[in-house]
């Protein structure tokens, strides 16, 4: 049994952020090794260090038993390491062939290298079933194809270690299965594969070994065949998770939000939301499950007024909305509020004082003075929320980025919930939030439901969806592929729907 990779006591600091703390990892040659952990656990950083993209602050890397110095990706490539990044490292304006050629051109002039590369690609296509059109522009091909290009990039450089960072985040289940088949073929050919993911089912499905990271540290190592999802999950979060939220029975009232035949096309004309209809009642939580990138974000943004609808209608508390002039501030006035999926991108202004972030979207509220903003009212508003939501430190004048993720998320939630919405749209409410804050947030949402408000919850965490929702809608490819009540939902069934296997087809 030989080790392909050994990482010994790796530390990495970004300024005052300690992303990797004394990480150790051993990977056996010819195996598929999974690395799991929550967002921000330090997986991607560790892999970027292994790939030479970041330099480690301290520590030792051994490849095939020999100590290696990684000054840049060039060194990693020379040592036979290839990496498929979560965000594909492709140049969209160039062709597939040029992308694969990049960094491995084989001579000063491109023409000779191009011919040789075409031949090489033909061979690889035969061996692994990795077919691509070398002359297509990357901008014109789909996500699955792009991933192939990334894998080919690694293989043509002679990689025997392949790192894949969250490879299935943007894939449909079928595409993901194809990928796993391909990975098994590669392993059987003697390649070593490192698979980074936070999806436990994938780990169980495809890996031989699994390492768990938590808060920048390596928390546990398991042989996949000798462990269980529960054991891994416990290691990930560091204590027994209780995702079961105490909930009373739902008491649905009148329909507060109705969506009819919503269609959203993006700027490239690609249909993101495909004829989606549903209704949301007072006093219920409806969860939307799905692999990320299947139209949930666009649906949420369209309902919030941020995305233009291509067609379809929205009715809010019985009143139809003029969808040709969707506008977030108008929706807020009508009582529809929105906790966005990405608080850094949408929900907060990180350089603002926290109290200023606390009025984002409500800057025209009469509560904050006339022509001039009433600073005292702005500050006291957040100061009150800080008490109710236990936001620390309790200083509304600190800049927003000096708060932790959980406290930042609470600022957003407090802002949207405390103004008494009729309908609350919630996207990924606990992403990058610590366990304590997760419990608090879940309780708060449940309380809001019990107070007779309507909540639409979008989350890629199936557990979260199942714990909170009264009804569950599943989206795949922009469509709603099925609906389940809380009582008759199970993960296996939902997984099929997420994969696009619809009720009718089944």
């Amino acid at each position: 049994m030989t080790l392909a990779i050994e990482l010994i006591d790796i530390h990495k600091r970004f300024g005052n952020v300690h992303a990797n703390k004394g990480v150790n990892l051993s990977v056996q040659k010819g195996s598929i090794h999974g690395i799991v952990g929550e967002n921000g656990a330090g997986k991607s950083t560790l892999m970027s260090i292994l790939y030479g993209y970041y330099g480690a602050t301290s520590g030792t890397i051994k490849i095939d038993g020999r100590e290696a110095r990684m000054r840049s990706s060039r060194d990693a490539i020379a040592l036979g390491i290839g990496m498929v990044h979560q965000h594909f490292m492709l140049v969209e304006t160039l062709s597939v062939l040029e992308n694969i050629l990049l960094g491995a051109e084989g001579g000063f002039w491109l023409s000779a290298g191009k011919d040789a590369m075409r031949a090489k690609l033909a061979t690889l296509a035969k061996t692994y079933g990795l077919e691509v059109d070398p002359d297509a522009r990357v901008a014109d091909i789909g996500v699955g194809q792009r991933q192939r290009v990334e894998i080919l990039k690694a293989l043509v450089r002679g990689a025997h270690v392949l790192i894949l960072d969250e490879p299935t985040a943007v894939l449909t289940p079928t595409e993901a299965d194809n990928l796993f088949d391909m990975l098994r073929v590669l392993r059987d050919e003697g390649k070593t594969i490192l698979l980074i993911t936070h999806k436990l089912r994938e780990i169980m499905h495809v890996t031989d070994h699994v390492s768990v990271m938590r808060r920048g540290e390596m928390a546990a190592h398991f042989e996949t065949s000798h462990t269980s999802v529960e054991e891994i999950a416990d290691a990930m979060v560091g204590r027994k998770v209780s995702l079961i939220v105490h909930r009373g029975p739902a008491n649905p009232g009148r329909v507060l939000l109705e969506a009819r035949d919503l269609v959203v096309r993006d700027m490239h004309g690609v249909t993101r939301v495909d004829h989606v209809s549903f209704s949301l009642r007072a006093g219920e939580i409806v969860g939307i499950a799905g692999v990320s990138g299947n139209g949930q974000s666009e649906l949420l943004e369209a309902l919030a007024g941020m995305q233009r609808l291509t067609s379809g209608g929205i009715t809010l508390d019985g009143a139809p909305i003029d969808t040709s002039r969707l506008d977030p501030s108008h929706m807020r006035e009508l009582g529809l509020m929105h906790v966005p999926e990405d608080r850094h991108r949408h929900g907060l202004v990180m350089s603002f004082e926290a109290c200023e972030s606390g009025i984002l979207g409500f800057q025209h509220d009469a509560a904050y003075g006339g022509a001039l903003l009433d600073r005292a009212a702005v500050e006291s508003g957040l100061a009150a929320d800080m008490e109710t939501y236990d936001i620390r430190p309790r200083d509304p004048r600190l800049t927003t980025h000096s708060f932790s993720g959980g406290n930042q998320q609470k600022i957003v939630l407090a802002r949207e919930i405390e103004r008494g919405p009729k309908v609350l749209l919630v996207g990924q409410p606990t992403r990058g939030v610590d366990i304590g804050a997760i419990e608090f947030i879940h309780k708060r949402l449940m309380a809001l439901r019990d107070a007779g408000k309507a909540i639409l919850l979008v989350s890629v965490e199936l557990d979260e969806i199942m714990a909170l929702s009264d009804r569950i809608l599943v989206m795949c490819g922009g469509r709603i592929t099925g609906e389940r009540t809380a009582a008759n939902a199970n993960p296996r069934d939902l997984g099929l729907l997420m994969a696009g296997v619809t009720d009718k087809a089944a």
């Binding site: 970004f14 300024g15 005052n16 977030p328 807020r332 966005p340 990180m350 603002f352 600073r375």
Partner: protein
Amino acid sequence: MRAAKLPVWADLTLVPLANVVAAFFVSGLVVLAIGENPFNAMRVLISGSLGSLEGISFTLYYATNFIFTGLSVALAYRAGLFNIGAEGQAYLAGLGAALVCLSLPGLPAIILLPLAIVAAGVFGAIWAMIPGWLQAKRGSHIVITTIMFNWIATSLMAWLLVNSMRAPGSMQPETKSFPPAALMPKFDGILSLFGIAVPSSPLNVSFLLALIAAAFVWLLVWRTRLGYEIRTLGANASAADYAGIGTTRVIVITMGLSGMLAGGLAVNEVLGVQNRLLLEFTSGYGFVGIAVALMGRAHPVGVVLASLLFGMLYQGGAELAFDQPRITRDMIVVIQGLVVLFAGALEGMFRTPIAAVLGLFRRTDEPDSRSA
């Protein structure tokens, strides 16, 4: 753009100070290289700008121009817009003022001047709103469009002054003089009414307008709802989208206000000093506004202070050129360029050591990696 986090006071004092010192140090080397004594030059520069009442008046007169253009650049910058077009906007503002003054010659000053000032503001605003609108609606990069608009303004104004507005029989492409009522009251004139004798200088009430504009910008940016929206747009455009802030509206309004502020340059130069419209009266003050805004950290107080410094440079530089002909006024352009370089493009160079000295971090091994 921030390399290291500093407390606000250090950000507003130490960093600009370090930038200026660096710019002056390099300038000193240049003076040395052309065979003059940099300390002597420095002395002339300071005594020429602050050593007499006349010098101070001229310093404040130049500073007036810089406060207006600096505020113009700073306000747009707060909304995330890089307005390089203050020069062209001020140029067009001069046209607005001239049209009012030439077409309504009979009016008394109390009516004519406010009208001319408003016209200058409106013309400057319109010339800035077009690139703003193109950015918001068509995605045309505002840096490129404002550069192009500067050149288009140059051609347009040359054409107007040469062909339609030139005073009959004049050798120069310039309009005839405006009626005396169109002249902004000068400080020397006002003070002499109270029996205080000060040397004659171009310093006029535009300077007070500039200070009022600075206070207005502060109030607008930090205390109004519009200012909140401007800052949100500048700090996080997608959050502005989320908050329902009409991006197009805010961009166009901000650029309009920015152009209006640039128009203040025309008020000071055309209405305050020249009393007629002439070619290239903006003489690069619009570009200095960029240096001023960068040095003033896009804050009105910083802009006023930086404007005073640049006013000193201009006035002291004129005295220097007068006194030591080998050091031409181009020296001032070099210093400006160096300030822009150190305060703008290389600002991180001094933040890091300052942050280290202040001991803000327990670890300073990789202070570059944090970005705001």
